[in-house]
Symmetry: C2
Subunit: 148 residues, 2 copies
Amino acid sequence: MDKIGVTMIDHVAIAVPAGQLEAQVALYERLGFTVLHREEVYGGDQVREVLLRVGETGNMIQLLEPLNSDSPVAKQIERQGGRGGLAHVAFRVPDIQAAFAAARSEGLQVIDEAPRPGSRGTTVFFLHPKTHPTDGALGVLYEFVQEA
Amino acid sequence: MDKIGVTMIDHVAIAVPAGQLEAQVALYERLGFTVLHREEVYGGDQVREVLLRVGETGNMIQLLEPLNSDSPVAKQIERQGGRGGLAHVAFRVPDIQAAFAAARSEGLQVIDEAPRPGSRGTTVFFLHPKTHPTDGALGVLYEFVQEA
């Protein structure tokens, strides 16, 4: 049987209210983190993304500023009364197709119908945070990421 | 000058409503994670903690179930209408005293007056998520951890 096969935390994503991205980047640089990558992500995401390196093991912080009000990140910020904060946690896997098959065979509810392109050439899928058929809610939005 | 010197993400902490800890542990085991440590933490924390290993790099998920209504985790769950979810992110540092001094000299607002004992023999401090003297709020609760 396929295994999800998580090897590490890829990144922790943080929602940042519109207009505050550069001030947030400056704060994280004061924590000693360095910017690795910037990208505007379209499709269903609609965010301006900044990835920061955390130490030397490959863990990252991902700052997400909504490009418009259709972005799921904008909706999170709206639900939180205009404040940003923790958005999701992404786990790195060596084989996203195997991870997807394994998540389904474990009965975990997957949001995406199939692994799909993420930023910086990755392939990703998300688990549903709210609903689980037998065991109750995870309560957290989790992503799985295969690097390019 | 001292550096904060973060080497990696130590753990991502998740608030779990009272009575749901074992169901949550079972869900994380279905994700392929394994329980590393269990502890009841008293003092200001008042939580039942389960640490799960994420892959082989040392990253962990920390499930936190409040022991009583005085626990800050209970207060988070109450603010969220009874739901759990992402609570804080902890960064590992080699020298917690140096990290504390560096955070202060960067002007970052620290919650703890000095590094203090965490679970499993660690030494920790937290940054304040809401207030920053010059650059606005981090918007996320961050912990720094030196291993025992």
